[in-house]
């Protein structure tokens, strides 16, 4: 919390922005882009995130987890944007955006894939990015937050408001979906599964 005299507050806010908030701008933009697939929308989301962070800065406890706090703001801004665009009169939360269940489908995804195979090693970043972007938003989100941004299950749970158990099962399924999608891509390019 900020406890300094008012005339020093603005200076202190700017210090927090410079030292704790702005260093996460690239990560926020990356996450926003992967949610929206659009550079301009991603820029708007990042801008909205920082403006909201400024408006609610008195709720931020200096020196705590700024990155997780900013990601949560961005996630909420994304949902609000979605709500506006869909013009739905009722309350929509993150769970309603998604159309997939978190229950396991044990026989659908094999998970038997060895990314050390030469075909995968030759894959370019674009192919992997396309595969991630093809995941439904809830699965894409946990992969990005955990595997790319390095958040813990607890942090992810707080950012997207789901129980830790759901984070765990969603991640497991998202990784299997991603492996499956990369395998299909490789097979389409002539790679044969050596197990068959």
């Amino acid at each position: 919390m900020f406890v300094m005299a008012d005339n020093n507050l603005e200076e202190q806010y700017m210090k927090v922005f410079d030292e704790e908030f702005y260093p996460h701008a690239d990560a926020l933009f990356n996450f926003a882009f992967n949610l929206t697939y659009n550079e301009s929308d991603a820029s708007d989301l990042v801008q909205e995130t920082y403006l909201k962070a400024f408006r609610f800065i008195d709720k931020y406890i200096q020196g705590t987890n700024a990155k997780a706090w900013l990601f949560k703001i961005l996630k909420n801004a994304f949902i609000n944007q979605y709500r506006k665009e869909s013009k739905r009169p009722t309350k929509v939360d993150f769970e309603e955006i998604v159309s997939y269940h978190d229950e396991e489908e044990p026989n659908r995804y094999s998970g038997h894939i060895d990314l050390r195979e030469e075909i995968y090693q030759n894959m370019m970043g674009d192919e992997v990015t396309v595969a991630i972007n093809a995941l439904p938003v809830d699965f894409r989100t946990v992969i990005l937050l955990c595997d790319i941004e390095g958040f813990t299950y607890e942090e992810i749970s707080k950012i997207i408001d789901i129980p830790i158990g759901t984070v765990r099962s969603r991640l497991h399924r998202a990784r299997n979906m991603l492996k499956e999608s990369l395998k299909e891509y490789a097979q389409a390019r002539g790679f044969k599964d050596k197990r068959s």
Binding site: D26, L28, I113, M123, E127, V128, T129
Partner: protein, 80 residues
């Protein structure tokens, strides 16, 4: 439990280990199994390479300095 479910359970556990989300006791048990069972080691190796592969191939975008500048100006113009 079938072979597939056993395999998926192992993959889930290995991933939690790589995410640093296993309890100390569960981690110790898993590492013991990995030491003695080559199939477990193989799963660990595959999952680890999957992480490295994804992380190394994902194209990370950078925010434009103009956007940050514009945000800074807006914050200065509209203090709450």
């Amino acid at each position: 439990m079938g072979n597939h479910q056993n395999h998926q359970e192992l993959v889930r556990k290995v991933n939690m280990y790589l995410d640093n989300e296993l309890s100390k006791e569960a981690e110790r048990d898993l590492l013991r199994e990995i030491k003695t069972n080559p199939a477990y080691l193989e799963v660990l190796s595959k999952e680890k390479s999957f992480r490295e592969f994804i992380k190394s191939r994902v194209h990370r975008r950078k925010v434009s300095p103009a956007l940050i500048q514009s945000i800074k100006e807006k914050i200065r113009i509209h203090p709450s």
